[in-house]
Every structure is written in structure tokens, then in C-alpha cells.
Assembly symmetry: C2
Homo-oligomer: 341 residues x 2
DNA sequence: CTGAAAGCGCTTACAG
DNA sequence: CTGAAAGCGCTTACAG
């Protein structure tokens, strides 16, 4: 068992020796540049790499290049199922681009986002994905760092200082609320974050207004199961109960469902629910959640590619959402027909 | 906005210059060794570090030391909520120990576990956490790599070639099944993985046997929502329906709940459910899941500490589970009394 | 207690 | 198309 107490790492020098070339040529082959290499030489090098099982030392490469094949990701809480699913997609996209993801939870210790970014930079990350709200000052600092950075799932409008990508929260929310209005429900509440700029709340209001309906109740709650549960309790106990509620996240909706069940309310018969995100869990609640799905894989792909290409200019890149119709809205997905208005 | 197009990185040389010492001394101060440094000098250096906002280049450090402050983690699928929660805990524990986590999903592309380990090694990780099943050969290879490695949440018995840590799956399962037997249910089914060695299935059988009850139905299903859903459908449609089922994971249990709801079965009245893991989601199903919780934070802490200390010898380190009593088993948690036998 | 210097394993201008 | 050599920013024996 102690055969290889220290399996002598094979370095580029070993490869060079075995293939009878200089170490530079090995680099040229492995990096496909910056100099061309004769085909025969190339083959010989590749063969040596294979024989020796050589893998370039990433630290050396990073030191030399000034940047590692690593992308730093800051996320508020990776346990959140939406983020967990996004992270997974980003991981997939990363490998495809020869990168790896260094994930940091910003909820973890007493450390500012900017500080965490600096930590990541010290690790030579070649790009930054931020799934967390940053103040304008913070964005400015990050933008001045000289590392491609990208906000994801954070609506920035046109005023963002960093490139950003994500769905059109407003249109997506509208999609959900329009659907519910299509069921004939006229009293639709909103449950979601308190951020002044939350586009989902706007989309909800848009839909109601355009349908000539009064604005429903708006309950602000943290983006968590517990947030949904508390909000749901408040709604269930209120004098005037909405006929439907649009939740800004599936996680919140799952909490709502629990609260409504506890209160003896039947979904969708007593109160309908539609939500946002399209996480896997939403398909396994009963009733299953009708939800506006975000194209997680596409966004992840685009994010990594963009970072690899150098990020570019500020501005919000939009991805389309898709309404996943299940039962919590009052539809019977086993029927072919859409709900009658 | 283009003030710092490239904010000239400050290096150790800058710190040395500003504090009027050699670069070696800066290292001694920052690493607290290997040489002692006079208090005044030390203060001066620290002050310079502060003033310059200096952060050591991790790549250079890793190259020089031969190991990075990074721990590699291989997990089958980080979307799985149990793993997502474990990963989050590991991240917390990592920062506390000055490390960061490099997470790799083993489901992601066509690449063997050993290959992924080598990739991680090329990145100079200083330790490896494996949350995936490895064959004996694979374990042997990993063990011979000269990097501290640790299996987590994978029962290895005494034959493991790598150090491992996790709960006592068998005793935990027994805990759950004993509880359900205490409710008077005599026909208890099992739903879980098909691995020959799954200790939870053993624990289930132990409990039944020791209570003098016949072995119930055993349904093998993937560890996923979908796996639970299919298993649940099979159980609901069977001629003889068990009175209770023990699910090897909360994720499976959530699938079961959906299937039972679809079949018009009431939980726990028609069929009781208990499960394993104690993920957050289990508290928000209705009925809420009675489940055997794993001490995720403690395990994560122990894992990181162990890796930082050098891993050590094979053997399975056990952590205690805790039965979280909610309603899916038939208990009414609002009552103080435990269920009568 | 402090410093000059070699070395970690790459990349890449520079020269041929 | 190929190679000798400097340099990336650290750590750490070695010498004082």
C-alpha cells in the first residue's frame, strides 16, 4: 500500500525529454500555440504525454499566465434549490470550456462581497459570476478590477455597471399572472421580495392593471421556504382571502402550499398558486406547481462562454421564460384544452 | 470608469520595499514561520500589507508549496438537496480553515472518477472529499496518490481502503422503523437504493425481525424525486398495500408523497411514511416528513479538519443521527406524548 | 532575528 | 519549425 508514498509528479520536462524536444515545444503542442509545431513532432509529444500520464500543473500555469482556468462564483446561499440547479449547470458548462468553478457562499461568514471578490482574485480566477445583489459602489469596484465579471439572475435594468444576464422577470411574472387571470380569478395576490426594483412584482401589477383588475394584496417575504410559510399563514388568516397568489419563487410557493394545507385550504379550489423559477421540486408538490421556468442550462452556458470570451460591456442580456402548466393554477394538464377564460 | 484598466497587482516585493525588509521576512510574517520575526518588524510588515491591500498570489504559493489551499470535492450531483446542503456546510467549514472548495459533479460528462481526481490533483488540491461510490480499485488508486482523501456519506464497513465518515445508516434506519413499529404498524415496506450493501435496508430488516414482524416489501429505486414517485405508484397499485414505508432518503419520500396523493391515499392515515437525511425540504411537505436527520454541519466540520490534518488511516468514523418527529409517521407533534406502542 | 538566492513548473518573447 | 532563457510570485533551506 505504500508503493507510491510520493508518486513523483511528472512534469513538462519529463515529457520534453521523452519526446526529444524542448519544453517550449511541449507547451506549443499542449496550448496549440503560440507557435506552430510540425505534425510529427506534435504526435511524438502527444504520445509522450499519454505514456507518462502527464497533466500540466495548474498552479504553475496560472502563475505564468497571470490567470487560472477557474471561474469564481459568488452566490448568496447554494442550498437554495434554484441556485443549486444553476450551479450544477454552470459546472457542466465550465467543464465544457475547460474551466472549473470555485463557489463561494456570501452568507457564510462576516465578509463583504468585495472582500470575497478579492479573495477570489488572489486565487487568480479568470472570471467572476455574481449571483448576489451588489450595491452600485460594489459593482463599480468589481468593474474596475480588470477581470471579466457577470451578474446572473439579478436584474439591473439599463443602469447596471456590470454586464448581467437573466430572464425578463417582469414579462415572466406577467405570463404567470395572465394565466391565472385566464382562469377567471380576479383577486390575485403577490408574495415575494421587498426589493423596490423587483420586476416580478411589477409584472404582476402590469397584468392586473391591463386586465382592468384591482391590484391585489402584496406580501413581502424572504426568498425561502420559511418566508413562504409565514406569508401563507398571513394570507390564510386574513379577512379577505385572495383567490390566487403569484409567488416570486417556487421555494416561496412550496412554503405557501404548506401554510394553505395547514389552514385547510385546498389548492387550487380554494386558492390557486403560480410561481417562478421552475426548479425540479415544483413538479413533486401536490398539487404540482404551475411555474414560470427559467432556462437554467442556456443561461449557464451563455454565462460561461461570455466570461471565457472576456465578458464585454454592461447591459442586461435577457433569456425567455416558459410557463410550465401543472395543477396548482387550476388547470388539469391531462386535458388538452387550455383553460377557458 | 477606465481609471484602473489594469490595477497593477501588488506583490510581496512591494510589501517588502514599503516595510523595509526582505521578501523572506514578509513570508515569515504572513505564514507565521518557519522563522520567527521580531515584533516590531512584524508590525511594520502587517501595516504595509494593510496599506497596500496586499493579498498573496495563491498560484505562486501553490506552485512553491506544491499544494494549494483548496480542497477538491467530487459529488455525484450537487443538485440533490442533501448534497447541496452538505456542500454548503463544507464551504462554511472550509473558510473557517482558510481553504476553499473546488466542486466537481461526477455526473457531468463522460469522465471516470479517477480521471476527475487526477484533474483535481493537477490543480494542486490539498485534499479530496469524495461523495460518490468508488470501486475498490478506484479507492486503491486514490489512496496511493499521496493526497489526503476522505469518503463522505459512503458506508465502507471495515474493508474501506480510504478513511470514511458518515452516519450509522443501519442504526439510523432502525431508529426510523422502530418508531413506525411503535405506532402499531406491522407491515412496513422499504424504498431505497439497490446497492447490495445498503445499510438502511439492513436496518429496516433488523427492526422488523427484532419486533417479530415479517419482512415487508422492498422496492428498489433511484435516489431521486422521480425514483420515489415511481416506487410510490408501484406501491399504491399493488394488491397488498403496506401500512407504512421507510424511504432511504427524503428525496425519495417526497416522490412517494406525490404518488400517494395522486392515488388518493392519505398520509399517514392510509399509509405512513418515514425517511432519512433530514433535508430542509422535509419540513415543508404536507404532512411534514418524520425523518432521521444526519448531522450535516458536524460531519462537514470534521471532514475538513481531518483533511487539513492529513486524513490519516482508513476506517469509518460514525456520526449520530437524530429522529425528527413530524406528522408523516402518524404522530401529532403538537401532543407531548410519544406514540403509544 | 534577517537576507540573498534557488527553485517550484509553467509560458512566451526572442533568436535562430 | 525549434530552443535557450527570463520571468510569473511565492517558500524555504542556507548563511550570516
Amino acid at each position: 500500500m505504500d508503493e507510491h508514498l510520493m508518486p513523483r509528479k511528472v512534469t513538462r520536462a519529463d515529457v520534453a525529454r521523452l519526446s526529444g524536444v524542448s519544453t517550449a515545444v511541449v507547451s506549443y503542442v499542449l496550448n496549440d500555440g503560440p507557435k506552430p509545431v510540425a505534425k510529427v513532432t506534435r504526435e511524438r509529444v502527444l504520445e509522450a504525454v499519454r505514456v507518462l500520464g502527464y497533466r500540466p500543473n495548474a498552479a504553475a500555469r496560472a502563475l505564468s499566465r497571470g490567470t487560472a482556468d477557474t471561474i469564481g462564483m459568488i452566490v448568496v446561499d447554494s442550498r437554495n434549490p434554484f441556485f443549486a440547479q444553476l450551479l450544477h449547470a454552470l459546472d457542466r458548462a465550465s467543464v465544457r470550456n475547460g474551466r472549473s468553478l470555485l463557489i463561494v457562499n456570501s452568507d457564510r461568514e462576516r465578509q463583504s462581497a468585495v472582500d470575497q471578490v478579492h479573495d477570489l482574485l488572489a486565487r487568480q480566477v479568470g472570471g467572476l459570476i455574481l449571483a448576489d445583489v451588489l450595491t452600485d459602489t460594489e459593482q463599480e469596484i468589481v468593474a474596475s478590477l480588470g477581470v471579466p465579471a457577470l451578474l446572473i439572475n439579478q436584474y439591473t435594468g439599463s443602469g447596471g455597471l456590470l454586464p448581467a444576464m437573466g430572464v425578463d422577470f417582469r414579462a415572466g411574472a406577467r405570463q404567470a399572472v395572465d394565466h391565472v387571470i385566464g382562469h377567471g380569478y380576479r383577486d390575485v395576490a403577490f408574495v415575494g421580495g421587498a426589493l423596490a426594483i423587483d420586476q416580478r412584482e411589477r409584472g404582476w401589477a402590469d397584468a392586473l392593471r391591463d386586465a382592468g383588475l384591482p391590484l391585489g394584496q402584496s406580501v413581502h417575504a424572504p426568498f425561502s421556504y420559511e418566508g413562504g410559510l409565514s406569508a401563507g399563514r398571513a394570507i390564510a388568516e386574513a379577512d379577505r382571502r385572495p383567490r390566487a397568489v403569484f409567488a416570486a419563487s417556487d421555494q416561496i410557493a412550496i412554503g405557501l402550499l404548506a401554510a394553505f394545507a395547514d389552514a385547510g385550504l385546498r389548492v387550487p379550489d380554494d386558492i390557486a398558486v403560480v410561481s417562478f423559477d421552475g426548479i425540479a421540486e415544483a413538479a413533486y408538490t401536490r398539487p404540482a406547481l404551475t411555474t414560470v421556468a427559467q432556462p437554467i442550462a442556456e443561461m449557464a452556458d451563455a454565462a460561461i462562454r461570455r466570461l471565457v470570451d472576456g465578458a464585454g460591456d454592461p447591459g442586461y442580456t435577457t433569456f425567455p421564460t416558459e410557463l410550465l402548466i401543472r395543477r396548482s393554477c387550476g388547470c388539469d394538464p391531462s386535458m388538452d384544452a387550455p383553460p377557458t377564460t
